[in-house]
Amino acid sequence: MDFWPTLYVFVLASFIGLGVIRRVSRLLHTPLMSLTNAISAIAVVGSILVTGGDYPLRIRILGAIALFASMTNIVSGFLITDRMLKMFKTDKRGGGTPT
């Protein structure tokens, strides 16, 4: 396997990451963390391949535990991120506050 293309992808994706994350609002750093957590649970791809493939039982057990762990992160990560983001509001009481 030629590994250069994958290294390219890694380096370029890291630069995109640095550029995009730098501009994330500081208000949202906690939800950002749970969101990236859910996104990096994309390890689910590897887990599915190991769990569902035609492999010996002990291999598939390892895969199934990994799949469970990734899926937990996906579900709880996205749900809690959305739950937190819902709370960020501007003054919803109509801005009638005198200054």
């Binding site: 396997m1 994958t6 890694f10 994706a13 890291s14 995109i16 990451g17 640095l18 995009v20 994350i21 994330v24 609002s25 500081r26 208000l27 949202l28 750093h29 906690t30 939800p31 950002l32 963390m33 749970s34 969101l35 990236t36 957590n37 996104i39 990096s40 994309i42 390890a43 689910v44 791809v45 590897g46 887990s47 599915i48 391949l49 769990t51 569902g52 010996p56 291999i59 598939r60 390892l62 535990i65 990994a66 799949l67 990734s70 899926m71 937990t72 992160n73 996906i74 579900v75 709880s76 996205f78 749900l79 809690i80 739950r83 937190m84 709370m87 509001k89 501007t90 005198p98 200054t99």
Partner: protein, 469 residues
């Protein structure tokens, strides 16, 4: 054909993930980011599952169902427990990477030498190392944050700590190199087991010497590790989606860690190997300093006269769950035409952005949450600075006292306000064990007690005084 479809699916998922993070740049679009993330993940799962090599569908369904069963309750934890939950999910992410790596290793072992290139072998070992290290490290961090009894809260140090850690890590790397060079050797599986054990152990030892005040940085670093282990998995499986998503997560953790370190004026190595909490309890100043305390009645009267009030929350507000009472106080003051802002230090709390989430939960408009750099120039115009359970982040010693362990750390200039009220649970020093000069300033009055009760009292005074409810 199938290959083309799945690669296209992965490509779209990668793009969706980048959009997801891009939309996090303002609270207005942030929820769109979550939907993009969900869509990307769903697409990746679908095309992977559709792969013809997948035959054990029941296993997958059961594992996914179990993931939902645990994940849904985990997403409903109270917001004060979010740091623990985050640490726990890093542990899950690390476990997944470690386990898949382990499975891949023993699987490829049966297929002979050609199954893995040397590059993939290196990636595989990196995946396992980072994965298991993140697993135990994050579990330790979660335990410390949850204040589990048998995990020490204060940093634990012992002689030759860094040296023995280094030796341990060196052994792990040496084993890793040996396996990479001879992946088919009869001892390779055992050596691989050794790498696993050492990684697990190293994760624990890495977190033991770290105190609560450094948790925001450590959580961010663990976040980065979890991402990098996914990258390594991507190298092993030659999957570009894994590499992209992992790299996004890795750089996110890195940036957050850098922001946290800057906000404490410390370096990475200092956080990880400095054992910050073990500060010598030096009492250089011989003279006995005294606090001035104030009653809620008195404080309420001063607050009523103010025109600009800045509230500075810290971890103490989270511990006391005082954010809703703070909101009531905010409402009372606003009703009197007083401008109220919140000054948020980047490392206030136990994870990046911790205070913002708690205050948003209490329905405080995010437009009133100010960053340290935004508010500091205005501090001399502030009539009352109300410190709610914050300590080190308002300690003027960071500016003036070269011997202080927090010297050089950027702080919120509460001491420059015309008057300061500081709510504090007890007279003990804060987490870092450092005395706070702010409390002895002639413009500062202490309000001792649980943050929730004290603010409740303030609110009661304000409602009583105005004659309405």
């Amino acid at each position: 054909m199938m290959y083309g479809i799945s690669q296209f699916g992965y490509l779209v998922a990668s793009a969706l993930f980048i959009f997801a993070l891009h939309w996090m740049n303002t609270p207005r679009t942030a929820r769109k980011g979550v939907y993009a993330g969900v869509a990307g993940t769903a697409m990746a799962v679908a095309v992977t599952w559709a792969d013809p090599s997948i035959i054990h569908h029941v296993w997958i369904i059961l594992a996914i169902a179990a993931g939902f069963a645990v994940g849904i309750p985990l997403s409903k934890v109270p917001l004060t427990a979010v740091p623990q939950r985050t640490a726990l999910s890093h542990a899950f992410g690390g476990a997944a990477a470690g386990l898949v790596g382990t499975a891949e290793f023993y699987l490829r072992l049966g297929e002979g030498h050609e199954a893995l290139t040397r590059f993939q072998m290196v990636a595989l070992i990196a995946e396992v190392l980072l994965g298991y290290l993140t697993l135990t490290g994050s579990l330790m961090a979660a335990g410390k944050l949850q204040e589990v009894k048998w995990i020490p809260q204060r940093p634990v140090t012992y002689p030759f700590q860094n040296l023995s850690n280094l030796l341990l890590f060196g052994t792990g790397v040496a084993l890793a190199i040996a396996i990479t060079l001879n992946p088919t050797a009869p001892w390779a599986p055992i050596a691989f087991g050794g790498v696993i054990v050492l990684s697990l152990l190293f994760g624990i030892l890495l977190i033991i010497p770290i105190g609560g005040a450094d948790m925001p940085t450590v959580i961010a670093i663990l976040n980065s590790y979890a991402g990098l282990s996914a990258v390594a998995m991507g190298f092993v499986l030659d999957n570009k989606l894994l590499i992209t998503a992992g790299a996004l997560d890795g750089s996110s953790g890195l940036i957050l860690a850098i922001i946290m370190c800057k906000a404490m004026n410390r370096s990475f190595t200092n956080v990880l190997f400095g054992a910050f909490g073990q500060v010598k309890q030096t009492k250089v100043t011989g003279e006995e300093q005294v606090y001035k305390s104030e009653t809620p009645e008195g404080a309420a009267q001063v607050l009523e006269q103010a025109s600009l009030v800045v509230i500075i929350p810290g971890y103490g507000m989270a511990v006391a769950q005082a954010q809703h009472k703070v909101r009531e106080l905010y409402d009372q003051l606003k009703k009197r035409g007083i401008t109220v802002k919140f000054a948020i230090h980047p490392v206030a709390g136990r994870m990046p952005g911790h205070m913002n989430v708690l205050l948003a939960e209490a329905d405080i408009p995010y437009t009133d949450l100010m960053e340290m750099d935004e508010i500091n120039p205005d501090m001399p115009q502030v009539d009352v600075a109300l410190v709610v359970g914050a300590n080190d982040v308002v300690n003027p010693a960071a500016r003036t006292d070269k011997t202080s362990p927090i010297y050089g750390m950027p702080i919120i200039d509460a001491d420059k306000a015309r008057s300061v009220f500081a709510i504090k649970r007890s007279k003990n020093p804060g987490f870092a064990g450092i005395d706070n000069q702010l409390y002895f300033s002639d413009r500062t009055w202490m309000l001792f007690g649980d943050a929730k009760n004290v603010i409740g009292e303030l609110v009661k005074q304000l409602t009583g005084g105005s004659g309405m409810h």
